[in-house]
Protein backbone atom coordinates (compact mmCIF):
# COMPACT_ATOMS: atom_id res chain seq x y z
CA UNK A 1 0.00 0.00 0.00
CA UNK A 2 1.78 3.12 -1.23
CA UNK A 3 -1.17 5.43 -0.92
CA UNK A 4 -4.28 4.53 1.06
CA UNK A 5 -6.85 5.67 -1.52
CA UNK A 6 -9.73 4.12 0.36
CA UNK A 7 -8.89 6.21 3.40
CA UNK A 8 -8.75 9.43 1.40
CA UNK A 9 -12.07 8.57 -0.19
CA UNK A 10 -13.61 7.64 3.15
CA UNK A 11 -12.56 10.90 4.82
CA UNK A 12 -13.71 12.89 1.81
CA UNK A 13 -17.09 11.18 1.74
CA UNK A 14 -17.56 11.51 5.49
CA UNK A 15 -16.78 15.23 5.38
CA UNK A 16 -19.06 15.81 2.40
CA UNK A 17 -21.92 14.02 4.13
CA UNK A 18 -21.66 16.62 6.89
CA UNK A 19 -22.43 19.19 4.19
CA UNK A 20 -25.47 17.38 2.89
CA UNK A 21 -26.83 17.01 6.41
CA UNK A 22 -26.85 20.78 6.83
CA UNK A 23 -27.67 22.15 3.36
CA UNK A 24 -28.99 25.40 4.77
CA UNK A 25 -25.82 26.18 6.64
CA UNK A 26 -23.61 24.91 3.86
CA UNK A 27 -25.19 26.53 0.84
CA UNK A 28 -28.14 28.75 1.64
CA UNK A 29 -26.44 31.08 4.10
CA UNK A 30 -23.48 32.05 1.86
CA UNK A 31 -25.87 32.59 -1.05
CA UNK A 32 -28.17 34.78 1.02
CA UNK A 33 -25.21 36.77 2.29
CA UNK A 34 -24.06 37.30 -1.28
CA UNK A 35 -27.46 38.45 -2.45
CA UNK A 36 -27.46 40.97 0.39
CA UNK A 37 -24.05 42.26 -0.69
CA UNK A 38 -25.36 42.70 -4.21
CA UNK A 39 -28.40 44.58 -3.03
CA UNK A 40 -26.43 46.86 -0.72
CA UNK A 41 -23.17 47.38 -2.59
CA UNK A 42 -24.14 46.54 -6.14
CA UNK A 43 -27.47 48.28 -6.43
CA UNK A 44 -27.87 50.81 -3.63
CA UNK A 45 -24.30 52.10 -3.35
CA UNK A 46 -23.03 50.90 -6.71
CA UNK A 47 -25.36 53.24 -8.58
CA UNK A 48 -23.54 56.21 -7.11
CA UNK A 49 -20.07 54.78 -7.77
CA UNK A 50 -18.12 55.62 -10.88
CA UNK A 51 -16.92 52.57 -12.84
CA UNK A 52 -13.48 51.27 -11.79
CA UNK A 53 -11.10 50.65 -14.68
CA UNK A 54 -14.11 50.87 -16.95
CA UNK A 55 -15.99 48.17 -15.08
CA UNK A 56 -19.32 48.93 -13.42
CA UNK A 57 -19.08 48.67 -9.63
CA UNK A 58 -21.70 45.93 -9.54
CA UNK A 59 -19.57 43.76 -11.81
CA UNK A 60 -16.31 44.83 -10.14
CA UNK A 61 -17.29 43.36 -6.79
CA UNK A 62 -18.28 39.94 -8.18
CA UNK A 63 -14.77 38.41 -8.11
CA UNK A 64 -14.14 40.05 -4.73
CA UNK A 65 -17.34 38.62 -3.31
CA UNK A 66 -16.57 35.15 -4.58
CA UNK A 67 -13.08 35.34 -3.10
CA UNK A 68 -14.41 36.67 0.20
CA UNK A 69 -16.76 33.73 0.49
CA UNK A 70 -14.37 31.09 -0.80
CA UNK A 71 -11.56 32.21 1.49
CA UNK A 72 -13.62 32.46 4.66
CA UNK A 73 -15.61 29.30 3.92
CA UNK A 74 -12.46 27.31 3.16
CA UNK A 75 -10.92 28.30 6.46
CA UNK A 76 -14.16 27.60 8.32
CA UNK A 77 -14.79 24.22 6.64
CA UNK A 78 -11.29 22.85 7.01
CA UNK A 79 -10.71 24.11 10.53
CA UNK A 80 -14.01 22.73 11.74
CA UNK A 81 -13.51 19.47 9.84
CA UNK A 82 -10.34 18.57 11.71
CA UNK A 83 -11.14 20.33 14.98
CA UNK A 84 -14.45 18.53 15.53
CA UNK A 85 -12.95 14.99 15.65
CA UNK A 86 -10.27 16.33 17.98
CA UNK A 87 -12.96 17.83 20.20
CA UNK A 88 -15.09 14.66 20.17
CA UNK A 89 -12.11 12.36 20.54
CA UNK A 90 -13.06 10.48 17.36
CA UNK A 91 -9.66 11.44 15.97
CA UNK A 92 -8.40 8.32 17.77
CA UNK A 93 -9.52 6.33 14.80
CA UNK A 94 -7.52 8.35 12.28
CA UNK A 95 -4.47 8.08 14.50
CA UNK A 96 -4.84 4.32 14.75
CA UNK A 97 -5.50 3.82 11.04
CA UNK A 98 -2.84 2.93 8.47
CA UNK A 99 -2.88 6.40 6.96
CA UNK A 100 -0.16 8.97 6.51
CA UNK A 101 -0.59 12.60 7.44
CA UNK A 102 -0.47 13.37 3.72
CA UNK A 103 -3.57 11.26 3.09
CA UNK A 104 -5.35 12.87 5.99
CA UNK A 105 -4.60 16.33 4.61
CA UNK A 106 -5.81 15.37 1.14
CA UNK A 107 -9.05 13.98 2.54
CA UNK A 108 -9.90 16.89 4.82
CA UNK A 109 -8.53 19.73 2.72
CA UNK A 110 -9.96 18.20 -0.45
CA UNK A 111 -13.44 18.04 1.05
CA UNK A 112 -13.25 21.54 2.54
CA UNK A 113 -12.02 23.00 -0.75
CA UNK A 114 -14.65 21.16 -2.77
CA UNK A 115 -17.37 22.59 -0.58
CA UNK A 116 -16.17 26.16 -0.69
CA UNK A 117 -15.33 26.06 -4.41
CA UNK A 118 -18.85 24.72 -4.93
CA UNK A 119 -20.29 27.62 -2.98
CA UNK A 120 -18.09 29.96 -5.06
CA UNK A 121 -19.62 28.56 -8.23
CA UNK A 122 -23.12 29.01 -6.85
CA UNK A 123 -22.35 32.64 -6.03
CA UNK A 124 -21.02 33.18 -9.53
CA UNK A 125 -24.23 31.74 -10.94
CA UNK A 126 -26.30 34.00 -8.67
CA UNK A 127 -24.35 37.09 -9.70
CA UNK A 128 -25.32 36.57 -13.33
CA UNK A 129 -28.84 37.37 -12.15
CA UNK A 130 -27.74 40.78 -10.88
CA UNK A 131 -25.13 42.07 -13.25
CA UNK A 132 -24.12 41.45 -16.86
CA UNK A 133 -20.78 39.62 -16.73
CA UNK A 134 -18.30 38.52 -19.32
CA UNK A 135 -15.41 36.43 -18.02
CA UNK A 136 -12.27 36.96 -20.10
CA UNK A 137 -10.28 33.94 -18.93
CA UNK A 138 -12.83 31.40 -17.71
CA UNK A 139 -10.40 28.48 -17.39
CA UNK A 140 -7.87 30.50 -15.43
CA UNK A 141 -10.73 31.84 -13.32
CA UNK A 142 -11.80 28.29 -12.49
CA UNK A 143 -8.23 27.19 -11.77
CA UNK A 144 -7.71 30.17 -9.45
CA UNK A 145 -10.98 29.46 -7.69
CA UNK A 146 -9.90 25.90 -6.98
CA UNK A 147 -6.34 26.89 -6.05
CA UNK A 148 -7.61 29.53 -3.63
CA UNK A 149 -10.05 27.09 -2.08
CA UNK A 150 -7.25 24.55 -1.58
CA UNK A 151 -4.82 27.12 -0.28
CA UNK A 152 -7.17 28.57 2.32
CA UNK A 153 -8.40 25.10 3.28
CA UNK A 154 -4.79 24.28 4.12
CA UNK A 155 -4.75 27.39 6.28
CA UNK A 156 -8.00 26.29 7.93
CA UNK A 157 -6.56 22.85 8.53
CA UNK A 158 -3.61 24.42 10.37
CA UNK A 159 -6.01 26.48 12.45
CA UNK A 160 -8.09 23.39 13.29
CA UNK A 161 -5.00 21.43 14.32
CA UNK A 162 -3.73 24.29 16.42
CA UNK A 163 -6.96 25.40 18.10
CA UNK A 164 -7.43 24.22 21.67
CA UNK A 165 -11.03 25.33 22.01
CA UNK A 166 -13.95 26.75 20.06
CA UNK A 167 -12.99 30.27 21.02
CA UNK A 168 -9.63 30.03 19.30
CA UNK A 169 -11.34 28.37 16.37
CA UNK A 170 -13.68 31.34 15.92
CA UNK A 171 -11.37 34.13 16.99
CA UNK A 172 -8.65 33.63 14.41
CA UNK A 173 -10.99 33.92 11.41
CA UNK A 174 -12.73 36.91 12.96
CA UNK A 175 -9.59 38.77 14.01
CA UNK A 176 -7.16 37.82 11.25
CA UNK A 177 -8.62 36.22 8.19
CA UNK A 178 -11.81 38.21 7.62
CA UNK A 179 -10.00 41.58 8.02
CA UNK A 180 -7.25 40.49 5.64
CA UNK A 181 -9.77 39.42 3.05
CA UNK A 182 -11.90 42.56 3.42
CA UNK A 183 -8.87 44.82 3.26
CA UNK A 184 -7.41 42.85 0.37
CA UNK A 185 -9.50 44.72 -2.16
CA UNK A 186 -12.64 42.60 -2.26
CA UNK A 187 -14.80 45.69 -2.73
CA UNK A 188 -12.36 48.26 -4.06
CA UNK A 189 -9.26 48.67 -6.13
CA UNK A 190 -6.09 49.16 -4.12
CA UNK A 191 -5.44 52.17 -6.34
CA UNK A 192 -8.37 53.92 -4.64
CA UNK A 193 -6.50 53.95 -1.30
CA UNK A 194 -4.19 56.72 -0.05
CA UNK A 195 -0.62 55.81 -0.99
CA UNK A 196 0.58 54.72 2.46
CA UNK A 197 -2.36 52.32 2.76
CA UNK A 198 -1.45 51.00 -0.67
CA UNK A 199 1.98 50.15 0.73
CA UNK A 200 0.39 48.43 3.72
CA UNK A 201 -1.82 46.42 1.37
CA UNK A 202 1.25 45.00 -0.34
CA UNK A 203 1.87 42.98 2.83
CA UNK A 204 -1.56 41.41 2.64
CA UNK A 205 -1.35 38.01 0.93
CA UNK A 206 -5.11 37.97 0.28
CA UNK A 207 -4.71 41.08 -1.90
CA UNK A 208 -2.54 39.23 -4.43
CA UNK A 209 -5.00 36.38 -4.70
CA UNK A 210 -8.03 38.63 -5.11
CA UNK A 211 -6.24 40.76 -7.65
CA UNK A 212 -5.35 37.71 -9.72
CA UNK A 213 -8.89 36.44 -9.62
CA UNK A 214 -10.20 39.79 -10.79
CA UNK A 215 -7.69 39.75 -13.63
CA UNK A 216 -9.16 36.44 -14.81
CA UNK A 217 -12.55 38.17 -14.99
CA UNK A 218 -11.73 41.55 -16.49
CA UNK A 219 -8.10 41.55 -17.55
CA UNK A 220 -7.35 44.37 -15.12
CA UNK A 221 -5.76 44.02 -11.71
CA UNK A 222 -3.89 45.80 -8.92
CA UNK A 223 -0.74 43.70 -9.32
CA UNK A 224 0.54 41.76 -12.35
CA UNK A 225 -1.13 38.37 -12.79
CA UNK A 226 2.21 36.52 -12.64
CA UNK A 227 2.84 37.88 -9.17
CA UNK A 228 -0.63 36.76 -8.11
CA UNK A 229 -0.04 33.26 -9.43
CA UNK A 230 3.34 33.10 -7.75
CA UNK A 231 1.91 34.23 -4.43
CA UNK A 232 -0.73 31.50 -4.44
CA UNK A 233 1.95 28.89 -5.03
CA UNK A 234 4.11 30.34 -2.25
CA UNK A 235 1.17 30.43 0.17
CA UNK A 236 0.31 26.81 -0.58
CA UNK A 237 3.91 25.73 -0.04
CA UNK A 238 4.18 27.63 3.23
CA UNK A 239 0.91 26.21 4.57
CA UNK A 240 1.87 22.72 3.52
CA UNK A 241 5.24 23.02 5.20
CA UNK A 242 3.61 24.14 8.44
CA UNK A 243 1.25 21.16 8.37
CA UNK A 244 4.18 18.88 7.65
CA UNK A 245 5.97 20.23 10.67
CA UNK A 246 2.91 19.82 12.88
CA UNK A 247 2.50 16.18 11.91
CA UNK A 248 6.20 15.42 12.18
CA UNK A 249 6.24 16.58 15.78
CA UNK A 250 2.84 15.10 16.64
CA UNK A 251 1.97 18.57 17.91
CA UNK A 252 -1.42 18.58 19.62
CA UNK A 253 -2.41 15.28 18.03
CA UNK A 254 -0.33 12.46 19.51
CA UNK A 255 0.80 12.72 23.10
Amino acid sequence: MILNFYAIKAIFKFEMSRTYRTPLQSFASPVIATVLYFVVFGSAIGNRMTPIDGISYGAFIVPGLIMLTVMTQSVANASFGIYFPKFLGTIYEHLSAPISSFEMVIGYVGAAATKSAGVGCIILAVSFLFVPLKIQHPLLMLALLIATALCFSLLGFILGLWAKDFEQLNLVPALVITPLVFLGGSFYSIAMLPSHWQTVSLFNPAMYVISGFRWAFFGVSDVPITISLLSIVILAIVFFAIIWRIFATGYRLRQ
Binding site: A7, A10, I11, F14, E93, P98
Partner: protein, 307 residues
Protein backbone atom coordinates in the same frame (compact mmCIF):
# COMPACT_ATOMS: atom_id res chain seq x y z
CA UNK B 1 1.97 -20.61 20.19
CA UNK B 2 3.88 -17.73 18.68
CA UNK B 3 3.76 -14.15 19.83
CA UNK B 4 1.73 -11.78 17.65
CA UNK B 5 2.47 -8.61 19.62
CA UNK B 6 5.90 -8.11 21.14
CA UNK B 7 6.64 -5.28 23.52
CA UNK B 8 10.24 -4.78 24.56
CA UNK B 9 11.46 -2.39 27.25
CA UNK B 10 8.67 0.05 26.57
CA UNK B 11 8.77 3.34 28.42
CA UNK B 12 6.24 6.12 28.15
CA UNK B 13 6.77 9.49 29.71
CA UNK B 14 4.09 12.08 28.99
CA UNK B 15 4.97 15.70 28.28
CA UNK B 16 4.10 16.67 31.85
CA UNK B 17 6.78 14.25 33.06
CA UNK B 18 4.37 11.54 34.21
CA UNK B 19 5.92 8.10 33.81
CA UNK B 20 3.03 5.90 32.64
CA UNK B 21 4.98 2.86 31.42
CA UNK B 22 8.25 1.91 33.01
CA UNK B 23 10.50 -0.39 30.96
CA UNK B 24 7.63 -2.77 30.31
CA UNK B 25 8.04 -6.00 28.34
CA UNK B 26 5.28 -8.45 27.47
CA UNK B 27 4.15 -10.67 24.60
CA UNK B 28 0.63 -11.41 23.42
CA UNK B 29 0.19 -14.82 21.80
CA UNK B 30 -1.52 -15.52 18.52
CA UNK B 31 -5.15 -16.47 19.01
CA UNK B 32 -5.34 -15.96 22.75
CA UNK B 33 -7.63 -13.87 24.89
CA UNK B 34 -5.51 -11.97 27.36
CA UNK B 35 -6.83 -9.71 30.09
CA UNK B 36 -4.83 -6.74 31.32
CA UNK B 37 -5.75 -6.27 34.91
CA UNK B 38 -4.71 -3.28 36.94
CA UNK B 39 -5.96 -0.45 39.16
CA UNK B 40 -6.83 3.02 37.87
CA UNK B 41 -3.80 4.74 36.43
CA UNK B 42 -1.81 1.50 36.12
CA UNK B 43 -0.97 2.25 32.49
CA UNK B 44 -3.38 -0.09 30.67
CA UNK B 45 -4.76 2.55 28.32
CA UNK B 46 -1.31 4.02 27.77
CA UNK B 47 -0.01 0.62 26.70
CA UNK B 48 -2.89 0.04 24.28
CA UNK B 49 -2.65 3.58 22.93
CA UNK B 50 0.98 3.06 22.03
CA UNK B 51 0.42 -0.25 20.29
CA UNK B 52 -2.44 1.27 18.28
CA UNK B 53 -0.56 4.40 17.32
CA UNK B 54 -2.47 6.99 19.35
CA UNK B 55 0.50 7.83 21.52
CA UNK B 56 4.18 8.14 20.79
CA UNK B 57 6.83 5.83 22.23
CA UNK B 58 9.37 7.41 24.58
CA UNK B 59 11.64 4.38 24.46
CA UNK B 60 11.44 0.72 23.50
CA UNK B 61 10.22 -1.43 20.64
CA UNK B 62 6.78 -2.72 19.71
CA UNK B 63 6.09 -5.12 16.84
CA UNK B 64 2.76 -6.40 15.58
CA UNK B 65 3.01 -9.66 13.64
CA UNK B 66 6.65 -8.81 13.06
CA UNK B 67 6.01 -5.27 11.84
CA UNK B 68 7.58 -2.42 13.80
CA UNK B 69 4.72 -0.11 14.74
CA UNK B 70 6.82 2.95 13.94
CA UNK B 71 8.71 2.11 10.76
CA UNK B 72 6.05 -0.27 9.34
CA UNK B 73 3.01 1.46 10.74
CA UNK B 74 0.79 0.73 7.76
CA UNK B 75 1.21 -3.04 7.94
CA UNK B 76 1.07 -3.06 11.73
CA UNK B 77 -2.02 -0.90 12.08
CA UNK B 78 -3.93 -2.72 9.32
CA UNK B 79 -3.97 -5.78 11.54
CA UNK B 80 -5.31 -4.03 14.61
CA UNK B 81 -8.77 -2.91 15.72
CA UNK B 82 -9.34 -0.75 18.78
CA UNK B 83 -12.39 -0.21 20.95
CA UNK B 84 -11.48 2.77 23.13
CA UNK B 85 -12.38 3.19 26.77
CA UNK B 86 -14.51 6.29 26.17
CA UNK B 87 -17.61 6.46 23.98
CA UNK B 88 -16.23 8.66 21.23
CA UNK B 89 -18.54 8.96 18.22
CA UNK B 90 -19.84 11.62 15.83
CA UNK B 91 -23.35 12.29 17.17
CA UNK B 92 -24.93 13.30 13.87
CA UNK B 93 -23.47 10.58 11.70
CA UNK B 94 -25.42 7.37 11.05
CA UNK B 95 -24.29 3.95 12.20
CA UNK B 96 -23.66 2.88 8.62
CA UNK B 97 -21.81 6.08 7.80
CA UNK B 98 -19.42 5.80 10.68
CA UNK B 99 -18.72 2.10 10.13
CA UNK B 100 -18.06 2.76 6.44
CA UNK B 101 -15.62 5.49 7.41
CA UNK B 102 -13.74 3.06 9.64
CA UNK B 103 -13.46 0.42 6.94
CA UNK B 104 -12.19 2.98 4.47
CA UNK B 105 -9.67 4.47 6.88
CA UNK B 106 -8.14 1.05 7.27
CA UNK B 107 -7.67 0.77 3.54
CA UNK B 108 -10.44 -1.65 2.66
CA UNK B 109 -12.90 -1.42 -0.20
CA UNK B 110 -16.50 -1.28 0.97
CA UNK B 111 -17.97 -4.74 1.43
CA UNK B 112 -21.68 -4.51 2.00
CA UNK B 113 -22.12 -8.18 2.81
CA UNK B 114 -19.47 -8.18 5.51
CA UNK B 115 -20.74 -4.98 7.10
CA UNK B 116 -24.32 -6.26 7.07
CA UNK B 117 -23.18 -9.44 8.79
CA UNK B 118 -21.19 -7.47 11.34
CA UNK B 119 -24.03 -5.10 12.17
CA UNK B 120 -26.53 -7.95 12.42
CA UNK B 121 -24.23 -9.83 14.74
CA UNK B 122 -24.07 -6.79 17.01
CA UNK B 123 -27.85 -6.27 16.77
CA UNK B 124 -27.31 -2.95 14.99
CA UNK B 125 -28.63 -3.74 11.53
CA UNK B 126 -32.05 -2.27 12.31
CA UNK B 127 -30.33 0.89 13.48
CA UNK B 128 -28.01 1.28 10.50
CA UNK B 129 -29.60 4.53 9.33
CA UNK B 130 -30.12 6.06 12.78
CA UNK B 131 -27.94 8.96 13.85
CA UNK B 132 -25.68 7.88 16.67
CA UNK B 133 -27.05 10.44 19.12
CA UNK B 134 -30.35 8.53 19.09
CA UNK B 135 -28.74 5.32 20.33
CA UNK B 136 -28.49 4.10 23.92
CA UNK B 137 -25.14 3.84 25.66
CA UNK B 138 -25.00 0.09 25.14
CA UNK B 139 -25.69 0.48 21.45
CA UNK B 140 -23.01 3.12 21.14
CA UNK B 141 -20.51 0.73 22.64
CA UNK B 142 -21.54 -1.86 20.09
CA UNK B 143 -21.09 0.72 17.33
CA UNK B 144 -17.54 1.21 18.56
CA UNK B 145 -17.01 -2.53 18.35
CA UNK B 146 -18.46 -2.61 14.85
CA UNK B 147 -16.07 0.16 13.85
CA UNK B 148 -13.13 -1.72 15.33
CA UNK B 149 -14.10 -4.91 13.48
CA UNK B 150 -15.06 -3.17 10.23
CA UNK B 151 -11.75 -3.96 8.56
CA UNK B 152 -11.57 -7.57 9.71
CA UNK B 153 -8.58 -7.12 12.07
CA UNK B 154 -6.48 -10.01 13.33
CA UNK B 155 -5.95 -8.37 16.70
CA UNK B 156 -8.65 -6.64 18.70
CA UNK B 157 -8.02 -4.35 21.65
CA UNK B 158 -10.95 -3.77 23.98
CA UNK B 159 -10.28 -1.09 26.57
CA UNK B 160 -12.77 -1.79 29.36
CA UNK B 161 -15.48 -3.10 27.06
CA UNK B 162 -17.94 -3.77 29.84
CA UNK B 163 -17.61 -0.63 31.94
CA UNK B 164 -21.13 0.63 32.58
CA UNK B 165 -22.74 -2.19 30.64
CA UNK B 166 -25.67 -4.25 31.94
CA UNK B 167 -25.46 -7.96 32.66
CA UNK B 168 -27.08 -9.09 29.40
CA UNK B 169 -24.85 -6.99 27.22
CA UNK B 170 -21.83 -8.11 29.18
CA UNK B 171 -22.70 -11.73 28.49
CA UNK B 172 -23.20 -10.87 24.79
CA UNK B 173 -19.81 -9.22 24.79
CA UNK B 174 -18.15 -12.26 26.33
CA UNK B 175 -19.78 -14.50 23.76
CA UNK B 176 -18.61 -12.23 20.97
CA UNK B 177 -15.06 -12.31 22.26
CA UNK B 178 -15.12 -16.11 22.42
CA UNK B 179 -16.55 -16.27 18.89
CA UNK B 180 -13.89 -13.93 17.60
CA UNK B 181 -11.25 -16.11 19.17
CA UNK B 182 -12.75 -19.13 17.43
CA UNK B 183 -12.36 -17.19 14.17
CA UNK B 184 -8.68 -16.71 14.90
CA UNK B 185 -8.70 -13.17 16.28
CA UNK B 186 -6.34 -12.36 19.15
CA UNK B 187 -8.19 -10.36 21.79
CA UNK B 188 -6.54 -8.12 24.35
CA UNK B 189 -8.89 -6.56 26.85
CA UNK B 190 -8.50 -4.45 29.93
CA UNK B 191 -10.87 -4.68 32.80
CA UNK B 192 -11.41 -3.83 36.42
CA UNK B 193 -13.84 -6.71 36.79
CA UNK B 194 -11.89 -9.67 38.01
CA UNK B 195 -14.75 -12.02 37.25
CA UNK B 196 -14.57 -10.88 33.66
CA UNK B 197 -10.92 -11.87 33.39
CA UNK B 198 -11.75 -15.10 35.17
CA UNK B 199 -14.62 -15.77 32.83
CA UNK B 200 -13.09 -15.24 29.41
CA UNK B 201 -9.32 -14.82 29.49
CA UNK B 202 -6.81 -17.54 28.69
CA UNK B 203 -4.02 -15.55 30.26
CA UNK B 204 -3.93 -12.68 32.66
CA UNK B 205 -1.38 -9.92 32.86
CA UNK B 206 -1.35 -7.85 36.00
CA UNK B 207 -0.08 -4.34 35.50
CA UNK B 208 0.61 -1.72 38.13
CA UNK B 209 2.49 1.57 38.06
CA UNK B 210 3.56 1.02 34.47
CA UNK B 211 5.06 -2.39 35.05
CA UNK B 212 3.89 -5.92 34.44
CA UNK B 213 3.72 -7.70 37.78
CA UNK B 214 3.03 -11.05 36.22
CA UNK B 215 1.66 -12.77 33.14
CA UNK B 216 0.26 -16.21 33.69
CA UNK B 217 -2.21 -18.76 32.43
CA UNK B 218 -5.39 -18.10 34.28
CA UNK B 219 -5.65 -21.60 35.74
CA UNK B 220 -2.00 -21.68 36.79
CA UNK B 221 -2.38 -18.28 38.36
CA UNK B 222 -5.40 -19.37 40.31
CA UNK B 223 -3.61 -22.50 41.43
CA UNK B 224 -0.31 -20.91 42.23
CA UNK B 225 -1.58 -18.02 44.19
CA UNK B 226 -4.96 -19.27 45.15
CA UNK B 227 -5.65 -19.71 48.83
CA UNK B 228 -8.35 -22.10 49.87
CA UNK B 229 -10.28 -21.95 53.04
CA UNK B 230 -11.74 -24.89 54.88
CA UNK B 231 -14.92 -23.97 56.74
CA UNK B 232 -16.39 -26.16 59.42
CA UNK B 233 -19.90 -25.45 60.68
CA UNK B 234 -20.13 -26.55 64.29
CA UNK B 235 -23.08 -28.37 65.86
CA UNK B 236 -22.54 -26.42 69.09
CA UNK B 237 -20.88 -23.04 69.36
CA UNK B 238 -17.53 -22.70 71.10
CA UNK B 239 -16.14 -19.93 73.29
CA UNK B 240 -12.57 -20.35 72.16
CA UNK B 241 -10.50 -22.47 69.80
CA UNK B 242 -9.44 -25.67 71.56
CA UNK B 243 -5.71 -26.09 72.20
CA UNK B 244 -5.09 -28.83 69.62
CA UNK B 245 -6.69 -26.81 66.82
CA UNK B 246 -5.27 -23.40 67.68
CA UNK B 247 -1.79 -24.83 67.19
CA UNK B 248 -2.68 -25.67 63.56
CA UNK B 249 -3.77 -22.09 62.84
CA UNK B 250 -7.53 -22.68 62.98
CA UNK B 251 -9.64 -19.63 63.81
CA UNK B 252 -13.09 -19.27 65.27
CA UNK B 253 -15.69 -17.08 63.54
CA UNK B 254 -19.42 -16.43 63.12
CA UNK B 255 -19.93 -15.98 66.85
CA UNK B 256 -18.28 -19.28 67.69
CA UNK B 257 -20.37 -21.31 65.24
CA UNK B 258 -17.74 -21.84 62.56
CA UNK B 259 -14.09 -22.81 62.41
CA UNK B 260 -11.97 -21.65 59.48
CA UNK B 261 -8.63 -22.91 58.27
CA UNK B 262 -6.67 -21.36 55.41
CA UNK B 263 -4.27 -23.37 53.32
CA UNK B 264 -2.22 -22.82 50.23
CA UNK B 265 -3.09 -24.94 47.23
CA UNK B 266 0.46 -24.74 45.98
CA UNK B 267 2.00 -26.49 48.96
CA UNK B 268 2.22 -30.27 49.00
CA UNK B 269 0.57 -30.76 52.33
CA UNK B 270 -2.73 -29.00 52.84
CA UNK B 271 -2.91 -29.85 56.56
CA UNK B 272 -6.57 -30.82 56.22
CA UNK B 273 -6.17 -34.39 57.63
CA UNK B 274 -4.45 -32.94 60.68
CA UNK B 275 -7.27 -30.47 61.27
CA UNK B 276 -9.92 -33.15 60.90
CA UNK B 277 -7.89 -35.48 63.17
CA UNK B 278 -7.65 -32.79 65.83
CA UNK B 279 -11.45 -32.25 65.64
CA UNK B 280 -11.94 -35.92 66.42
CA UNK B 281 -9.45 -35.90 69.25
CA UNK B 282 -11.08 -32.84 70.82
CA UNK B 283 -14.47 -34.45 70.32
CA UNK B 284 -16.00 -31.50 68.48
CA UNK B 285 -19.16 -32.26 66.50
CA UNK B 286 -19.80 -30.52 63.17
CA UNK B 287 -22.72 -30.35 60.79
CA UNK B 288 -20.99 -29.38 57.56
CA UNK B 289 -17.54 -28.98 55.98
CA UNK B 290 -16.90 -26.98 52.83
CA UNK B 291 -14.09 -25.10 51.12
CA UNK B 292 -13.86 -21.68 49.51
CA UNK B 293 -11.33 -20.64 46.90
CA UNK B 294 -9.90 -17.17 46.78
CA UNK B 295 -10.90 -15.28 43.66
CA UNK B 296 -8.61 -13.46 41.27
CA UNK B 297 -9.65 -10.36 43.09
CA UNK B 298 -7.99 -11.49 46.28
CA UNK B 299 -4.93 -12.61 44.36
CA UNK B 300 -4.81 -9.27 42.66
CA UNK B 301 -5.13 -7.22 45.82
CA UNK B 302 -2.41 -9.32 47.37
CA UNK B 303 -0.08 -8.80 44.42
CA UNK B 304 -0.53 -5.08 44.28
CA UNK B 305 -0.07 -4.75 48.02
CA UNK B 306 3.13 -6.77 47.92
CA UNK B 307 4.95 -4.20 45.82
Amino acid sequence: MSAIVKIQDLTKRYDDGKLALNDLSVEFMRGEIIALLGPNGAGKTSLISIICGLTTISDGLVTVDGFDIQSNYREARSLVGLVPQELMLEPFETVMGTVSLSRGLFGQAQNHEYVEGLLSRLSLWEKRDSPIRELSGGMKRRVLIAKALSHEPKILFLDEPTAGVDVDLRRDMWRLVKDLQAEGVTVILTTHYIEEAEEIADRIAVINEGQILLVEDKSILMNRLGKKELLIDLSESLIEVPQGLAGLGVRLQNGGRQLSYSYDMATEKSGIPEVLGALKIEGIGFSDVHTEQSSLEDIFIELVAER
